[in-house]
């Protein structure tokens, strides 16, 4: 079984680490450090998250990136050899969408591979719907999905879609 490297990226607080913890079948490697900025949570990823998942006969290696732009060197390191990208964004923080687009452009310039978009925190008041996020990012709507990264059945959906895209790409 050929392992597939998938990069999970997006702005801070989108749920990247949560998604990997929800889905990984092996012990997750995380690198949480105490957050000193007001980012709405006590810790943040400073290097990477790593987990694995078997899906449709493939072994996926999920590599989560830090969300802050000061860690852009990790985006570059983790993009190496990636076969697909899951970009995660918060529906209730549309102001982070330009950052999301920067991250996507940055990683795609190093690893021009298929990507899908996962929209989280849709249960909050005043959110952008996945259609609006897709429009902003210029992503086909069918590659953009709302999800709760704490629920396995929802967290896995964008990865299923991504596998289809990687398959048709290959």
């Amino acid at each position: 079984m050929e392992p597939l490297k998938i990069v999970i990226t997006g702005p801070v607080g989108a749920g990247k680490s949560t998604l990997i913890r929800t889905l990984s079948e092996t012990e997750v490697v995380d690198t949480d450090a105490i957050a000193t900025e007001a980012i709405g949570k006590p810790t943040t990823t400073v290097a990477l998250d790593h987990g694995t998942l078997r899906l449709d006969g493939h072994l996926l290696h999920l590599f989560g990136t830090p969300g802050q732009e000061r860690f852009d060197f990790m985006w570059e390191i983790l993009a190496e050899g990636a076969l697909g990208i899951l970009l995660m964004v918060r529906a209730d923080r549309p102001e982070t969408l330009p950052v999301a687009r920067n991250i996507l452009d940055f990683i795609k310039s190093r690893a021009p591979v298929p990507y899908v978009v996962g929209v989280t925190h849709l249960d909050q008041p005043k959110v952008w719907q996945p259609e609006e996020v897709a429009l902003f990012l210029g992503t086909p709507l069918e590659h953009t999905q709302g999800l709760d990264p704490r629920r396995p059945e929802e967290a896995v959906r964008p990865l299923v879609r991504l596998l289809e895209l990687i398959g048709t790409n290959a």
């Binding site: 690198t31 450090a33 000193t36 990823t45 290097a47 830090p66 802050q68 000061r70």
Partner: protein, 120 residues
């Protein structure tokens, strides 16, 4: 004296004790620059990288049963980058040329990491 002045004073003392040090930075645990002595243009980047190296080092230490992480050493053929935790809130990072007395650098840097922990 403000917290910033106290940090800056300690970095100055460390530099006086080890004049060969080139970069000295204090980063927050999540990679923001807190104080620095040296080239300002790389300090911000080095702060983020120090947090990454330290965060990953901690994970490697636990995964491979090394016990608690004591220090990060990155050795180039011309210089070293060395980092120590400042309590759980920050990291002290420094660069020193290849010919430095590493034993002395380690002793002094760890001593100053302890002093800095009292201020951060």
């Amino acid at each position: 004296m403000s917290k910033q002045e106290q940090l800056q004073q300690l970095l100055g003392e460390l530099k006086a004790a080890l004049p060969e040090l080139k970069e000295i930075i204090v980063a927050s645990s999540d990679g923001l620059p807190v104080a620095q002595l040296g080239e300002s243009e790389i300090a911000t980047r080095l702060a983020a990288m120090a947090a990454t190296a330290h965060g990953l080092g901690k994970r490697i230490a636990t995964t491979t049963h090394l016990g608690n992480l004591v220090e990060i050493v990155i050795r180039g053929d011309q210089a070293y980058f060395i980092a120590y935790a400042i309590g759980d809130k920050g990291i002290l990072g420094l660069t020193t040329p290849a010919g430095s007395n590493l034993g002395l650098v380690r002793l002094e840097a760890q001593e100053y990491a302890r002093k800095l922990a009292g201020i951060l």
